[in-house]
Protein backbone atom coordinates (compact mmCIF):
# COMPACT_ATOMS: atom_id res chain seq x y z
CA UNK A 1 0.00 0.00 0.00
CA UNK A 2 1.38 3.36 -1.00
CA UNK A 3 1.43 5.62 2.03
CA UNK A 4 1.93 8.55 -0.33
CA UNK A 5 -1.50 8.41 -1.90
CA UNK A 6 -3.92 10.51 0.11
CA UNK A 7 -7.68 10.09 -0.11
CA UNK A 8 -10.00 13.09 0.00
CA UNK A 9 -13.74 13.59 -0.17
CA UNK A 10 -14.80 15.68 -3.15
CA UNK A 11 -18.54 15.09 -3.21
CA UNK A 12 -21.37 14.05 -0.89
CA UNK A 13 -24.99 13.02 -1.29
CA UNK A 14 -27.59 12.05 1.29
CA UNK A 15 -31.24 11.15 1.59
CA UNK A 16 -32.38 10.95 5.18
CA UNK A 17 -35.57 11.16 7.22
CA UNK A 18 -34.55 14.74 8.12
CA UNK A 19 -33.75 15.95 4.61
CA UNK A 20 -33.33 14.72 1.05
CA UNK A 21 -30.04 16.54 0.36
CA UNK A 22 -26.82 16.98 2.31
CA UNK A 23 -27.62 20.62 3.11
CA UNK A 24 -31.17 19.84 4.26
CA UNK A 25 -29.83 16.95 6.37
CA UNK A 26 -27.19 19.16 7.96
CA UNK A 27 -29.60 22.01 8.71
CA UNK A 28 -31.94 19.59 10.47
CA UNK A 29 -29.35 17.83 12.60
CA UNK A 30 -27.66 21.12 13.50
CA UNK A 31 -31.07 22.31 14.69
CA UNK A 32 -31.77 19.13 16.66
CA UNK A 33 -34.79 18.23 14.53
CA UNK A 34 -36.21 14.71 14.59
CA UNK A 35 -37.34 12.94 11.43
CA UNK A 36 -39.24 10.18 13.23
CA UNK A 37 -42.98 9.74 12.85
CA UNK A 38 -45.78 7.20 12.56
CA UNK A 39 -45.16 4.93 9.57
CA UNK A 40 -47.10 6.05 6.49
CA UNK A 41 -45.92 3.43 3.97
CA UNK A 42 -48.34 0.74 5.16
CA UNK A 43 -50.92 0.00 7.85
CA UNK A 44 -49.02 -0.54 11.10
CA UNK A 45 -51.99 -1.15 13.40
CA UNK A 46 -50.96 -4.78 14.01
CA UNK A 47 -47.30 -4.00 14.75
CA UNK A 48 -45.78 -3.42 18.20
CA UNK A 49 -43.58 -0.70 16.74
CA UNK A 50 -45.53 1.81 14.62
CA UNK A 51 -42.84 4.44 14.09
CA UNK A 52 -39.88 4.96 11.78
CA UNK A 53 -37.79 7.53 9.97
CA UNK A 54 -39.18 7.62 6.45
CA UNK A 55 -37.93 9.55 3.42
CA UNK A 56 -40.52 12.17 2.51
CA UNK A 57 -41.52 13.24 -0.99
CA UNK A 58 -39.16 11.03 -2.96
CA UNK A 59 -39.80 10.86 -6.71
CA UNK A 60 -37.43 8.23 -8.18
CA UNK A 61 -37.99 8.94 -11.88
CA UNK A 62 -36.07 12.20 -11.62
CA UNK A 63 -32.86 10.30 -10.87
CA UNK A 64 -32.88 7.89 -13.81
CA UNK A 65 -32.34 8.56 -17.50
CA UNK A 66 -35.37 6.42 -18.35
CA UNK A 67 -38.45 5.94 -16.12
CA UNK A 68 -38.21 2.25 -16.98
CA UNK A 69 -34.91 2.06 -15.11
CA UNK A 70 -36.50 3.54 -11.99
CA UNK A 71 -39.35 1.03 -12.14
CA UNK A 72 -36.97 -1.91 -12.34
CA UNK A 73 -34.91 -0.76 -9.33
CA UNK A 74 -35.87 -1.60 -5.75
CA UNK A 75 -36.43 1.40 -3.49
CA UNK A 76 -33.05 0.83 -1.84
CA UNK A 77 -31.37 1.15 -5.25
CA UNK A 78 -33.49 4.18 -6.13
CA UNK A 79 -32.35 5.93 -2.95
CA UNK A 80 -28.73 4.97 -3.67
CA UNK A 81 -28.99 6.38 -7.19
CA UNK A 82 -30.51 9.62 -5.95
CA UNK A 83 -27.76 10.15 -3.36
CA UNK A 84 -25.14 9.27 -5.97
CA UNK A 85 -26.54 11.85 -8.39
CA UNK A 86 -26.19 14.50 -5.69
CA UNK A 87 -22.67 13.40 -4.73
CA UNK A 88 -21.38 13.18 -8.30
CA UNK A 89 -22.90 16.55 -9.24
CA UNK A 90 -21.40 18.03 -6.06
CA UNK A 91 -17.97 16.66 -6.97
CA UNK A 92 -17.92 18.04 -10.51
CA UNK A 93 -16.44 14.72 -11.60
CA UNK A 94 -18.66 14.44 -14.68
CA UNK A 95 -18.49 18.13 -15.57
CA UNK A 96 -17.59 19.03 -19.13
CA UNK A 97 -13.88 19.28 -19.73
CA UNK A 98 -12.89 16.83 -16.95
CA UNK A 99 -10.69 14.10 -18.44
CA UNK A 100 -11.83 11.06 -16.50
CA UNK A 101 -10.46 7.55 -17.01
CA UNK A 102 -13.60 5.59 -16.19
CA UNK A 103 -11.62 2.37 -15.80
CA UNK A 104 -10.03 4.07 -12.78
CA UNK A 105 -13.38 4.85 -11.14
CA UNK A 106 -14.99 2.20 -8.93
CA UNK A 107 -18.21 1.87 -7.00
CA UNK A 108 -18.70 0.32 -3.55
CA UNK A 109 -22.29 0.87 -2.49
CA UNK A 110 -23.88 -1.71 -0.23
CA UNK A 111 -27.05 -2.36 1.67
CA UNK A 112 -27.56 -4.16 4.93
CA UNK A 113 -30.72 -5.89 3.78
CA UNK A 114 -31.08 -5.13 0.06
CA UNK A 115 -34.31 -5.20 -1.90
CA UNK A 116 -36.74 -6.31 0.78
CA UNK A 117 -39.71 -4.66 -0.98
CA UNK A 118 -39.06 -6.73 -4.08
CA UNK A 119 -38.95 -9.91 -2.02
CA UNK A 120 -42.20 -9.03 -0.25
CA UNK A 121 -44.04 -8.12 -3.46
CA UNK A 122 -42.96 -11.19 -5.36
CA UNK A 123 -43.55 -13.55 -2.48
CA UNK A 124 -47.11 -12.22 -2.39
CA UNK A 125 -47.38 -12.93 -6.13
CA UNK A 126 -46.08 -16.45 -5.59
CA UNK A 127 -48.66 -17.19 -2.92
CA UNK A 128 -51.58 -15.54 -4.72
CA UNK A 129 -50.86 -16.48 -8.33
CA UNK A 130 -48.19 -19.18 -8.41
CA UNK A 131 -44.55 -19.36 -9.51
CA UNK A 132 -45.36 -18.33 -13.07
CA UNK A 133 -46.13 -14.82 -11.87
CA UNK A 134 -42.82 -14.11 -10.12
CA UNK A 135 -41.37 -11.07 -11.86
CA UNK A 136 -38.21 -11.70 -13.89
CA UNK A 137 -36.90 -8.57 -12.17
CA UNK A 138 -37.23 -9.89 -8.64
CA UNK A 139 -33.71 -11.32 -8.40
CA UNK A 140 -31.89 -8.36 -9.99
CA UNK A 141 -33.95 -5.96 -7.90
CA UNK A 142 -33.45 -7.65 -4.54
CA UNK A 143 -29.73 -8.41 -4.61
CA UNK A 144 -27.69 -6.08 -2.43
CA UNK A 145 -25.03 -5.43 -5.07
CA UNK A 146 -27.45 -4.06 -7.67
CA UNK A 147 -27.19 -0.44 -6.52
CA UNK A 148 -23.44 -0.63 -7.21
CA UNK A 149 -24.14 -2.22 -10.58
CA UNK A 150 -26.75 0.36 -11.61
CA UNK A 151 -24.52 3.27 -10.61
CA UNK A 152 -21.71 1.86 -12.77
CA UNK A 153 -24.10 1.44 -15.71
CA UNK A 154 -25.47 4.96 -15.31
CA UNK A 155 -22.02 6.58 -15.46
CA UNK A 156 -19.89 3.98 -17.26
CA UNK A 157 -17.58 3.52 -14.26
CA UNK A 158 -15.62 0.35 -15.08
CA UNK A 159 -13.30 0.02 -12.09
CA UNK A 160 -13.68 -2.31 -9.09
CA UNK A 161 -17.32 -2.71 -8.15
CA UNK A 162 -18.84 -4.58 -5.25
CA UNK A 163 -21.18 -4.28 -2.32
CA UNK A 164 -20.28 -4.61 1.32
CA UNK A 165 -23.02 -6.40 3.26
CA UNK A 166 -22.28 -6.09 6.96
CA UNK A 167 -25.62 -4.91 8.35
CA UNK A 168 -25.20 -1.56 10.07
CA UNK A 169 -21.46 -1.40 9.39
CA UNK A 170 -22.06 -1.66 5.62
CA UNK A 171 -21.44 1.86 4.40
CA UNK A 172 -18.63 2.63 6.85
CA UNK A 173 -16.84 -0.41 5.48
CA UNK A 174 -17.72 0.61 1.93
CA UNK A 175 -15.90 3.89 2.50
CA UNK A 176 -13.01 2.12 4.22
CA UNK A 177 -12.54 -0.45 1.48
CA UNK A 178 -12.77 2.29 -1.14
CA UNK A 179 -10.10 4.24 0.74
CA UNK A 180 -7.90 1.14 0.59
CA UNK A 181 -8.38 0.68 -3.17
CA UNK A 182 -7.36 4.28 -3.83
CA UNK A 183 -4.32 3.98 -1.54
CA UNK A 184 -3.38 0.76 -3.34
CA UNK A 185 -3.36 2.66 -6.65
CA UNK A 186 -6.01 0.40 -8.20
CA UNK A 187 -8.26 3.40 -8.82
CA UNK A 188 -8.34 7.19 -8.58
CA UNK A 189 -11.99 7.56 -7.58
CA UNK A 190 -14.48 5.47 -5.63
CA UNK A 191 -18.18 6.17 -5.27
CA UNK A 192 -18.71 4.77 -1.78
CA UNK A 193 -21.62 4.44 0.59
CA UNK A 194 -24.79 2.57 1.33
CA UNK A 195 -28.51 2.55 1.13
CA UNK A 196 -31.43 1.03 2.99
CA UNK A 197 -35.18 0.82 2.46
CA UNK A 198 -36.51 -1.64 5.03
CA UNK A 199 -39.42 0.32 6.49
CA UNK A 200 -41.69 -2.47 5.32
CA UNK A 201 -43.87 -5.13 6.94
CA UNK A 202 -41.03 -7.66 7.08
CA UNK A 203 -38.48 -5.06 8.21
CA UNK A 204 -40.56 -3.51 10.96
CA UNK A 205 -41.99 -6.89 11.96
CA UNK A 206 -38.64 -8.67 11.90
CA UNK A 207 -36.73 -6.13 13.98
CA UNK A 208 -39.83 -5.87 16.15
CA UNK A 209 -39.74 -9.60 16.90
CA UNK A 210 -36.16 -9.18 18.08
CA UNK A 211 -37.45 -6.62 20.62
CA UNK A 212 -34.84 -4.32 19.11
CA UNK A 213 -37.21 -1.44 18.28
CA UNK A 214 -38.55 1.37 20.43
CA UNK A 215 -42.28 1.15 21.00
CA UNK A 216 -42.67 4.77 22.09
CA UNK A 217 -45.43 5.02 19.50
CA UNK A 218 -47.26 7.89 21.17
CA UNK A 219 -44.21 10.17 21.12
CA UNK A 220 -42.23 9.35 17.94
CA UNK A 221 -39.83 12.29 17.92
CA UNK A 222 -38.66 11.33 21.42
CA UNK A 223 -38.31 7.61 20.73
CA UNK A 224 -34.67 7.54 19.61
CA UNK A 225 -32.81 8.52 22.78
CA UNK A 226 -29.28 7.12 22.82
CA UNK A 227 -27.71 6.68 26.29
CA UNK A 228 -30.86 7.89 28.03
CA UNK A 229 -31.97 5.72 30.94
CA UNK A 230 -35.47 5.46 29.42
CA UNK A 231 -34.33 4.32 25.97
CA UNK A 232 -36.21 1.26 24.76
CA UNK A 233 -34.65 0.31 21.44
CA UNK A 234 -33.70 1.81 18.11
CA UNK A 235 -35.97 3.44 15.54
CA UNK A 236 -35.82 2.03 12.03
CA UNK A 237 -34.93 4.55 9.34
CA UNK A 238 -34.44 4.52 5.59
CA UNK A 239 -32.05 6.48 3.45
CA UNK A 240 -28.79 6.61 1.55
CA UNK A 241 -25.39 8.20 1.97
CA UNK A 242 -22.75 8.46 -0.76
CA UNK A 243 -19.32 10.06 -0.83
CA UNK A 244 -16.98 10.60 -3.75
CA UNK A 245 -13.54 9.47 -2.57
CA UNK A 246 -10.69 10.72 -4.72
CA UNK A 247 -6.92 10.53 -4.74
CA UNK A 248 -5.58 13.92 -3.73
CA UNK A 249 -3.46 14.71 -6.81
CA UNK A 250 -6.29 13.58 -9.10
CA UNK A 251 -8.64 15.93 -7.28
CA UNK A 252 -6.19 18.83 -7.35
CA UNK A 253 -5.44 18.38 -11.03
CA UNK A 254 -9.06 18.93 -11.98
CA UNK A 255 -9.48 21.78 -9.48
CA UNK A 256 -11.96 19.93 -7.28
CA UNK A 257 -13.18 21.38 -4.01
CA UNK A 258 -11.93 19.20 -1.15
CA UNK A 259 -14.31 18.73 1.77
CA UNK A 260 -12.17 16.53 3.97
CA UNK A 261 -9.52 13.84 4.05
CA UNK A 262 -10.12 10.26 5.14
CA UNK A 263 -7.04 9.27 7.12
CA UNK A 264 -8.04 6.24 9.15
CA UNK A 265 -10.08 3.07 8.86
CA UNK A 266 -10.25 0.14 11.22
CA UNK A 267 -12.41 -2.94 10.95
CA UNK A 268 -12.76 -5.98 13.21
CA UNK A 269 -15.22 -8.62 14.30
CA UNK A 270 -16.42 -9.39 17.82
CA UNK A 271 -16.55 -13.13 17.08
CA UNK A 272 -18.93 -13.28 19.99
CA UNK A 273 -22.67 -13.29 19.23
CA UNK A 274 -25.06 -12.82 16.29
CA UNK A 275 -26.59 -9.64 17.62
CA UNK A 276 -25.19 -8.78 21.06
CA UNK A 277 -22.10 -6.57 21.01
CA UNK A 278 -18.79 -7.16 22.73
CA UNK A 279 -17.05 -3.88 23.43
CA UNK A 280 -13.61 -5.37 22.83
CA UNK A 281 -14.23 -5.69 19.10
CA UNK A 282 -15.32 -2.08 18.79
CA UNK A 283 -12.32 -0.90 20.82
CA UNK A 284 -9.97 -2.76 18.48
CA UNK A 285 -11.57 -1.14 15.42
CA UNK A 286 -11.15 2.29 16.97
CA UNK A 287 -7.50 1.57 17.81
CA UNK A 288 -6.83 0.27 14.32
CA UNK A 289 -8.27 3.42 12.74
CA UNK A 290 -6.16 5.62 15.00
CA UNK A 291 -3.04 3.64 14.15
CA UNK A 292 -3.70 3.92 10.41
CA UNK A 293 -4.19 7.66 10.79
CA UNK A 294 -1.07 7.97 12.95
CA UNK A 295 -3.08 9.71 15.65
CA UNK A 296 -3.36 9.51 19.41
CA UNK A 297 -6.84 9.42 20.95
CA UNK A 298 -6.42 12.95 22.32
CA UNK A 299 -6.13 14.27 18.76
CA UNK A 300 -9.74 13.31 17.99
CA UNK A 301 -12.07 16.31 18.49
CA UNK A 302 -15.42 14.60 18.01
CA UNK A 303 -16.88 11.10 17.78
CA UNK A 304 -20.07 10.49 15.83
CA UNK A 305 -21.13 7.37 17.69
CA UNK A 306 -22.96 4.33 16.49
CA UNK A 307 -25.33 5.22 19.37
CA UNK A 308 -28.50 3.39 18.34
CA UNK A 309 -30.55 3.80 21.55
CA UNK A 310 -30.50 0.13 22.49
CA UNK A 311 -29.91 -1.09 26.02
CA UNK A 312 -26.78 -3.16 25.34
CA UNK A 313 -25.31 -1.27 22.39
CA UNK A 314 -25.10 2.13 24.03
CA UNK A 315 -23.32 0.76 27.10
CA UNK A 316 -20.97 -1.35 25.02
CA UNK A 317 -19.89 1.55 22.81
CA UNK A 318 -19.35 3.73 25.87
CA UNK A 319 -17.05 1.03 27.27
CA UNK A 320 -15.18 0.77 23.96
CA UNK A 321 -14.59 4.53 23.80
CA UNK A 322 -13.39 4.56 27.40
CA UNK A 323 -11.09 1.60 26.78
CA UNK A 324 -9.27 3.56 24.07
CA UNK A 325 -9.68 7.19 25.16
CA UNK A 326 -9.50 6.62 28.94
CA UNK A 327 -12.15 6.63 31.65
CA UNK A 328 -11.87 10.37 32.15
CA UNK A 329 -11.92 11.35 28.48
CA UNK A 330 -13.59 14.64 27.61
CA UNK A 331 -14.02 13.85 23.91
CA UNK A 332 -17.48 14.97 22.74
CA UNK A 333 -19.57 12.05 21.49
CA UNK A 334 -22.97 12.43 19.84
CA UNK A 335 -25.50 10.26 18.07
CA UNK A 336 -27.24 11.77 15.08
CA UNK A 337 -29.42 8.64 15.10
CA UNK A 338 -31.34 10.42 17.84
CA UNK A 339 -32.75 12.50 14.96
CA UNK A 340 -32.54 10.30 11.85
CA UNK A 341 -33.29 6.94 13.40
CA UNK A 342 -31.08 4.04 12.40
CA UNK A 343 -30.42 3.97 8.67
CA UNK A 344 -28.78 0.52 8.93
CA UNK A 345 -26.61 0.05 5.84
CA UNK A 346 -26.75 3.77 5.04
CA UNK A 347 -25.83 4.89 8.56
CA UNK A 348 -22.03 4.85 8.32
CA UNK A 349 -21.80 7.01 5.20
CA UNK A 350 -24.52 9.43 6.33
CA UNK A 351 -22.73 9.84 9.67
CA UNK A 352 -19.36 10.34 7.97
CA UNK A 353 -21.03 13.16 6.05
CA UNK A 354 -22.28 14.54 9.39
CA UNK A 355 -18.64 14.56 10.58
CA UNK A 356 -17.45 16.42 7.46
CA UNK A 357 -20.19 19.03 7.89
CA UNK A 358 -19.47 19.32 11.63
CA UNK A 359 -15.81 20.08 10.89
CA UNK A 360 -16.77 22.55 8.16
CA UNK A 361 -19.18 24.46 10.39
CA UNK A 362 -17.33 24.06 13.70
CA UNK A 363 -20.52 22.67 15.17
CA UNK A 364 -21.18 19.35 16.89
CA UNK A 365 -24.67 18.03 16.13
CA UNK A 366 -26.45 17.03 19.34
CA UNK A 367 -27.85 13.87 20.84
CA UNK A 368 -31.47 14.87 21.26
CA UNK A 369 -33.79 13.32 23.86
CA UNK A 370 -30.93 12.59 26.26
CA UNK A 371 -32.74 13.78 29.37
CA UNK A 372 -31.14 11.58 31.97
CA UNK A 373 -28.14 9.44 31.02
CA UNK A 374 -27.97 5.78 31.97
CA UNK A 375 -25.66 5.46 34.97
CA UNK A 376 -23.22 3.39 32.93
CA UNK A 377 -23.15 6.03 30.19
CA UNK A 378 -20.93 8.81 31.47
CA UNK A 379 -19.28 10.36 28.41
CA UNK A 380 -19.94 13.89 27.12
CA UNK A 381 -22.81 13.13 24.72
CA UNK A 382 -23.58 16.73 23.68
CA UNK A 383 -27.20 16.52 24.83
CA UNK A 384 -30.18 18.39 23.34
CA UNK A 385 -28.53 21.20 21.36
CA UNK A 386 -25.60 21.58 18.98
CA UNK A 387 -22.34 22.88 20.37
CA UNK A 388 -19.80 25.16 18.73
CA UNK A 389 -16.28 23.75 18.77
CA UNK A 390 -13.13 24.02 16.70
CA UNK A 391 -12.96 20.65 14.99
CA UNK A 392 -10.03 19.28 13.00
CA UNK A 393 -10.47 15.51 13.27
CA UNK A 394 -13.60 13.45 13.72
CA UNK A 395 -14.26 9.75 14.13
CA UNK A 396 -17.33 7.80 13.08
CA UNK A 397 -18.21 4.39 14.53
CA UNK A 398 -20.48 1.78 12.96
CA UNK A 399 -21.27 -1.67 14.32
CA UNK A 400 -23.41 -4.33 12.69
CA UNK A 401 -25.26 -7.53 13.53
CA UNK A 402 -22.78 -10.33 12.98
CA UNK A 403 -20.30 -8.52 15.20
CA UNK A 404 -18.89 -6.30 12.41
CA UNK A 405 -17.15 -3.14 13.57
CA UNK A 406 -15.89 -0.27 11.44
CA UNK A 407 -14.36 3.05 12.43
CA UNK A 408 -13.49 5.89 10.06
CA UNK A 409 -11.45 9.01 10.73
CA UNK A 410 -11.96 12.14 8.66
CA UNK A 411 -10.06 15.37 9.05
CA UNK A 412 -10.00 18.90 7.76
CA UNK A 413 -7.92 18.99 4.59
CA UNK A 414 -4.67 20.87 5.01
Amino acid sequence: MSQNRRVVITGMGALTPVGNTVSAFWESIAAGKSGIGTVTAFDVSAYDCKIAGEIKGFEPNAFFKNPKDARRADRYAQLAMAATKEAVAHSGLMAEGVALDRERVGVIVGSGIGGLKSIEDQHSNLIAKGPGRISPFMIPMMISNMASGLIAIEYGFQGPNFAVVTACATSAQSVGEGWRLIKDDDVDVIIAGGSEAAVLPLGLGGFGSMKALSTRNDDPTRASRPWDKDRDGFVLGEGAGIVVLEELEHAKKRGAVIYGEVTGYGTTCDAYHMTSPDSGGAARAIKMALKKAGLNPDQIDYINAHGTSTGLGDVSETRAVKAVFGDQTKVPVSSTKSMTGHLLGAAGAVELIACVKAIEHGLIPPTINLDQPDEECTLDYVPHTAREAKLTRAMSNSFGFGGHNATLIVQKFA
Binding site: N66, K68, D69, R71, R72, K129, G132, R133, P136, F137
Partner: protein, 81 residues
Protein backbone atom coordinates in the same frame (compact mmCIF):
# COMPACT_ATOMS: atom_id res chain seq x y z
CA UNK B 1 -68.46 3.97 -21.66
CA UNK B 2 -67.19 1.70 -24.43
CA UNK B 3 -64.85 -1.07 -23.40
CA UNK B 4 -61.25 -0.61 -24.42
CA UNK B 5 -60.15 -2.62 -27.42
CA UNK B 6 -57.51 -5.32 -27.15
CA UNK B 7 -55.16 -3.06 -29.09
CA UNK B 8 -55.59 -0.22 -26.60
CA UNK B 9 -55.05 -2.50 -23.62
CA UNK B 10 -51.92 -4.02 -25.15
CA UNK B 11 -50.52 -0.58 -25.90
CA UNK B 12 -51.16 0.66 -22.37
CA UNK B 13 -49.24 -2.23 -20.87
CA UNK B 14 -46.31 -1.65 -23.21
CA UNK B 15 -46.19 2.08 -22.49
CA UNK B 16 -46.28 1.43 -18.75
CA UNK B 17 -43.69 -1.34 -18.67
CA UNK B 18 -41.17 -0.08 -21.21
CA UNK B 19 -41.48 3.62 -20.41
CA UNK B 20 -41.99 4.51 -24.08
CA UNK B 21 -44.24 7.12 -25.69
CA UNK B 22 -47.64 5.90 -26.92
CA UNK B 23 -46.83 7.12 -30.47
CA UNK B 24 -43.92 4.69 -30.65
CA UNK B 25 -46.19 1.73 -29.99
CA UNK B 26 -47.33 1.04 -33.58
CA UNK B 27 -48.41 -2.44 -34.74
CA UNK B 28 -45.15 -2.79 -36.70
CA UNK B 29 -42.94 -1.80 -33.76
CA UNK B 30 -40.53 -4.54 -32.67
CA UNK B 31 -40.13 -4.91 -28.90
CA UNK B 32 -36.36 -5.29 -28.85
CA UNK B 33 -35.19 -3.24 -31.85
CA UNK B 34 -37.74 -0.42 -31.74
CA UNK B 35 -38.96 -0.22 -28.15
CA UNK B 36 -35.71 -0.91 -26.32
CA UNK B 37 -36.89 -4.03 -24.49
CA UNK B 38 -34.32 -6.47 -23.14
CA UNK B 39 -34.75 -10.18 -22.45
CA UNK B 40 -36.19 -9.58 -18.98
CA UNK B 41 -38.64 -6.97 -20.27
CA UNK B 42 -40.03 -9.42 -22.80
CA UNK B 43 -40.63 -12.03 -20.10
CA UNK B 44 -42.37 -9.46 -17.91
CA UNK B 45 -44.46 -8.22 -20.85
CA UNK B 46 -45.72 -11.68 -21.70
CA UNK B 47 -46.59 -12.19 -18.04
CA UNK B 48 -48.55 -8.95 -18.03
CA UNK B 49 -50.45 -9.93 -21.21
CA UNK B 50 -51.27 -13.31 -19.68
CA UNK B 51 -52.58 -11.58 -16.59
CA UNK B 52 -54.56 -8.89 -18.42
CA UNK B 53 -56.21 -11.21 -20.95
CA UNK B 54 -56.35 -14.35 -18.83
CA UNK B 55 -54.45 -16.46 -21.34
CA UNK B 56 -51.48 -18.80 -21.08
CA UNK B 57 -48.70 -18.16 -23.57
CA UNK B 58 -46.36 -21.17 -23.90
CA UNK B 59 -42.65 -20.27 -24.14
CA UNK B 60 -42.35 -21.47 -27.74
CA UNK B 61 -45.23 -19.20 -28.78
CA UNK B 62 -43.95 -16.26 -26.71
CA UNK B 63 -40.71 -16.35 -28.68
CA UNK B 64 -42.65 -15.67 -31.90
CA UNK B 65 -44.24 -12.47 -30.56
CA UNK B 66 -41.74 -10.00 -31.99
CA UNK B 67 -43.96 -6.99 -32.71
CA UNK B 68 -46.87 -5.18 -31.11
CA UNK B 69 -49.08 -6.43 -33.93
CA UNK B 70 -48.02 -10.04 -33.26
CA UNK B 71 -49.32 -9.72 -29.71
CA UNK B 72 -52.61 -8.09 -30.69
CA UNK B 73 -53.28 -10.79 -33.31
CA UNK B 74 -52.27 -13.57 -30.93
CA UNK B 75 -54.66 -12.38 -28.23
CA UNK B 76 -57.50 -11.79 -30.71
CA UNK B 77 -57.05 -15.35 -32.03
CA UNK B 78 -56.94 -16.83 -28.53
CA UNK B 79 -60.15 -15.01 -27.68
CA UNK B 80 -61.89 -16.60 -30.65
CA UNK B 81 -61.03 -20.12 -29.54
Amino acid sequence: MAEKSIEERVKEIIVEQLGVNPEQVTPAAKFIEDLGADSLDTVELVMAFEEEFNVEVPDEEAEKLQTVGDVIRYIEDKGDE
